[in-house]
Symmetry: C2
Subunit: 349 residues, 2 copies
């Protein structure tokens, strides 16, 4: 009958965090696919690769030698998109051609000396060391007067533009606040000013009542498929306590974050029995010297796969020109992720 | 010395049409690439493929039979992301979980009965028929009271999620105005209210003076790499006359549009001697019954390739979490496109 049903009818969902919309087409998930099939990368890597520029002891492109590190290792990207010493200046032609010099620092973080591992294959204490390094880096970079925003992220898998399979992430820290965190600041600020609570506290409360989009929980964090998810298996990790950035996490909370990273990424790998590609990153308060009580620490996971290890979602024509679009519902995706085991499929073999 | 130089120093550019920024890192174009190599699709197709659901006379998935069409052919997408008969309704939990039913129509346009062609391999009069069909479709769909925006686009190539190589485009027409044209409406309206001229008229004037980003011109249209281009070889086609939509084009202007489509797509194919993948689409006034004198018809081309037929630009980690980023400058890209021949590389062989 003529009642709107979000599991059946096309609809738009509002992203309360960014202020944007996504088009959801649940009825479309059964269309045939004759398009591009992704290659599944051969997943047998040695523990040490003499040609890898991230392995301990190896020489990087710039001539520097990596130390014989035993857990994590961080250094300035030899080909950073941002550099610290940029002369100030810009262009402005009638407000229509506008450019501004931008300065910043790009860092690379090796998660492990082992070339053959990924986060889901590492033990929780080893992942905790990655969390500790994020805290250190956010502290040091964020304290610089020329750095007003610190973006910590990971591109995992060749499909996500990762140029080296050695487990690593990146940090791009810069003078201005980029568009995505700027939108989230505006949305969070409006909510905080109206309600005196962070937007994500109130959102999390509803999600924990409804349960259908929640994937995993521990004492300090919740992972769920956001109501407004764009990517098929997109998730968001939200701190239960409304902290603004990782420096405010207690030692217990850091352990809990490592636990969640491990459990979530194992579920991702198990979904299609493949090293699951994604881009993921923390969103935290700008380091512009303001308090930002509206900001609520969270982490986004944007994985491209849709139906299997070889069929991905393409963000193309309509998505680039109109709005992001998805076929399966966020509720369906959450169910799939909830039913996965937390024993990694390779360990189970 | 310490003078800002946009061909050398990292900077941000403002997209006057969308109101967003792009990070440009000119110094970064020489970083080594060990990441994913794209497959170059075998480009030998028969003129007729009995298994293709778009070829004349063939049966589609839904059981319908394509007519023996001789130029263009349009039909409702058998797996449309939008459908016309959606019960109204929605969800609203505290302003944080918000959804709205969305209705619309998805159409597929075959550009040619020939399975083996693409736009750059078609003659101008045949492309003109595609333009004529766009006009007809925009007129009919736009006249419906339940359609307030009509998005005409093409995904070309497997890399851009195209699920069938038969030359075709799509139309998604819907009740609401999607995010991208909504942003462009806001920016164009603000400019029009301040200056009494369209934003793109004033922008085009500057570009035609500066010349360095212009790729091709004819009497009625200009193609250029926009100052704020995100994709490596992104271009924008702008009507010289500030018309709001394709229905206002004179017969001469329609011919000129077909001419530009042919010349631009030949240059694209010639750049890396490959059938060049892209997503492209027209941006036109909303069909919401308002006048929209601020709107200025244009067409975007978003091609993913960066350095060669096998190395693409990935919009991943930083791009999804921060801002879009590019390495080569728009001026460099415009130069590369300008130096291409307008004789298709296959015809030249
Ligand atoms: O409609 P098609 O060609 O099957 O699908 C393609 O274009 C659509 C519109 O841009 C996208 O949503 C799909 O991800 C893409 O694969
Ligand atoms: O820095 P990498 O790993 O060489 O490069 C990768 O991540 C960057 C940041 O998301 C992107 O700009 C590149 O397109 C991608 O290939």
């Amino acid at each position: 009958s003529a009642t709107f049903d979000s599991t059946e009818h096309p609809h738009r969902r509002f992203n309360a965090l960014s202020g944007e919309w996504v088009l959801v087409s649940p009825h479309r998930s059964k269309r045939p696919w004759q398009g591009q099939q992704e290659e599944t990368a051969p997943d047998q890597r040695p523990a040490y690769d003499p040609t890898c520029y991230l392995c301990p002891g190896n020489v990087r492109v710039g001539g520097e030698v990596n130390p014989p590190y035993t857990d994590t290792f961080v250094f300035n990207n030899d080909f950073g998109a941002l550099t610290p010493d940029v002369p100030t200046g810009g262009i402005n032609e009638g407000g229509l051609l506008r450019a501004e010099a931008e300065s910043g620092i790009c860092r690379v973080i090796c998660f492990s000396p082992r070339h053959d591992l990924t986060l889901p294959q590492m033990e929780t204490p080893a992942i905790r060391k990655v969390v500790d390094l994020w805290v250190e880096e956010f502290t040091t970079l964020g304290a610089r007067p020329d750095i007003n925003y610190v973006q910590i992220f990971e591109n995992k898998g060749a499909m996500m533009g990762c140029s080296n399979p050695h487990p690593h992430g990146q940090i791009w820290a810069q003078r201005t606040v980029p568009g995505e965190p700027a939108k989230e600041t505006a949305q969070q600020l409006a909510h905080f000013q109206e309600h005196g609570r962070t937007l994500l506290s109130d959102y999390l409360k509803i999600e924990l009542e409804q349960k259908e989009r929640v994937v995993i929980e521990n004492e300090h964090f919740v992972v769920l498929v956001p109501f407004w998810a764009v990517w098929p298996f997109e998730t968001i990790l939200i701190a239960r306590r409304p902290v603004q950035d990782v420096t405010q996490l207690t030692p217990d909370e850091r352990d809990a974050l490592a636990d969640m990273l491990r459990r979530l990424t194992i579920r991702y790998d198990n979904l299609f029995s493949i090293s699951f590609p994604y881009s993921a990153g923390l969103h935290q308060r700008p380091t512009d010297g303001q308090e930002h009580p509206e900001w609520h620490l969270h982490m986004h996971f944007f994985p491209p796969l849709l139906r299997s290890a070889t069929v991905r979602k393409f963000m193309v024509g309509y998505e680039l020109l109109g709005d992001p679009q998805r076929d399966i519902t966020p509720e369906f995706s959450a169910g799939r992720l909830r039913e996965q085991s937390e024993l990694h499929y390779k360990a189970a073999q």
